[in-house]
């Protein structure tokens, strides 16, 4: 009992720290989400870019930036951001879903690039 109690006390702060370590602790992030939900995409784009400067390895931020680029018609930039997001967090269902939907659209838009834009397996994984 005592062991579990001690473990709880030790692990909870550690867990919070680890889980939330990648959080861009800025108001930019939340503000951008709200802006995007209200259709203010230019504002959201600017905020996410700012947040990314502080957290360049945040997959969710790269995903959000890609969505904003899509809305602006900057499809090549969107593709680049989706790829970074996928590389940083290959198991994230929502990022994968966005990326797959975008690829379908992108390949229709640029049929000549269709062969090149097929999805690669996530890094550090081998196909059996």
């Amino acid at each position: 009992m005592k062991i579990y109690g001690l473990l709880l006390i030790a692990i909870i702060p550690l867990w919070i720290g680890v889980s939330c370590a990648s959080t861009p602790a800025t108001s930019d992030y939340k503000f951008a989400i709200e802006a995007a939900r209200k259709g203010l995409w230019k504002e959201a784009l600017f905020r996410w870019k700012t947040a990314l400067e502080k957290n360049p390895d945040n997959a969710k931020l790269h995903n959000n930036l890609a969505v904003a680029y899509e809305n602006e018609g900057e499809y090549d930039l969107a593709l680049e951001e989706y790829r970074i997001a996928r590389r940083l967090d290959p198991d994230n269902y929502h990022i994968k879903d966005n990326y797959d939907s975008f690829l379908r659209f992108y390949q229709k838009l640029n049929p000549e690039k269709g062969e090149k834009e097929t999805e690669k397996p996530p890094p550090d994984r081998t196909i059996q």
Partner: protein, 228 residues
């Protein structure tokens, strides 16, 4: 025994707290809609007038598909694009020549001269009705108890399918400028026959894609944005 129960309880609380902390820091996904600006496929300003020439179609019992498709597209092009839409009697596309016709430059040149059109739209339309059945959940009131119950039932459906191959030929050179394929399915409950109402419903769904060849369009898509 008591010690075992205390240990299990502690383990339970431990897992619950870890789970809650995990959820708290896991973030949320918000589904948003975005607009995809789409450029027109045919360069703007290159052509001023268009002739919707005709469509190869299997004759339906009630519908003259060639006539209806031509009439519908002419009306919509007039309403939605800056092109001058030329009026001519719809031509009959010979089924035997459908494969070679896109490359028969002389044919399209002569038609363009006759109709005084700079761009010619033509193609093939296929409108099919397929009876099908789907398993669906239905709610009903039990005759004795009066309770609302849910049951799975085989429901008769009809799939109305429209397939449209569209070609755009240059009036001055007769060469093929652009081609695309479109298809839509609308399932209806019950057995029904092909009629104009469903034809228009299907065409209305395909229309934005066709207009997108001639004028800039926006398509709506759903995406997830993620918060920490």
């Amino acid at each position: 025994m008591k010690n075992n129960i205390t240990k299990r309880l502690s383990k339970g609380w431990f897992c619950l707290i870890l789970g809650l902390v995990g959820i708290g820091c896991g973030g949320a996904a918000h589904l948003v809609t975005i607009q995809h600006p789409m450029k027109e496929r045919i360069p703007p300003g290159k052509y001023k007038s268009i002739l919707v020439a005709g469509f190869l179609a299997k004759e339906e019992e009630k519908l003259n598909l060639n006539f209806e498709t031509v009439k519908y597209l002419r009306t919509e092009l007039r309403k939605n694009t800056p092109y001058k839409v030329t009026e001519e009697k719809p031509i009959d596309i010979p089924p035997a020549r459908i494969e070679e016709l896109p490359y028969d430059t002389d044919f399209w040149k002569s038609l363009a001269i006759q109709a005084e059109a700079e761009l010619i739209m033509w193609g093939r339309v296929n409108y099919t009705v397929e009876p099908t059945a789907e398993l669906k959940e239905v709610r009903y009131r039990h005759p004795t108890t009066g309770r609302i119950l849910t049951a799975t039932q085989l429901v008769d459906m009809t799939n109305f399918k429209m397939e449209l191959d569209i070609y755009f030929s240059d009036g001055s050179s007769g060469e093929l400028v652009y081609r695309d394929k479109y298809s839509q399915i609308i399932p209806y409950k019950g057995r029904q026959s092909a009629d104009l109402t469903t034809f228009f419903a299907l065409m209305n769904r395909i229309l934005p894609s066709i207009l997108g060849v001639l004028i800039p369009q926006e398509t709506t898509e759903a995406r997830y944005i993620l918060s920490d």
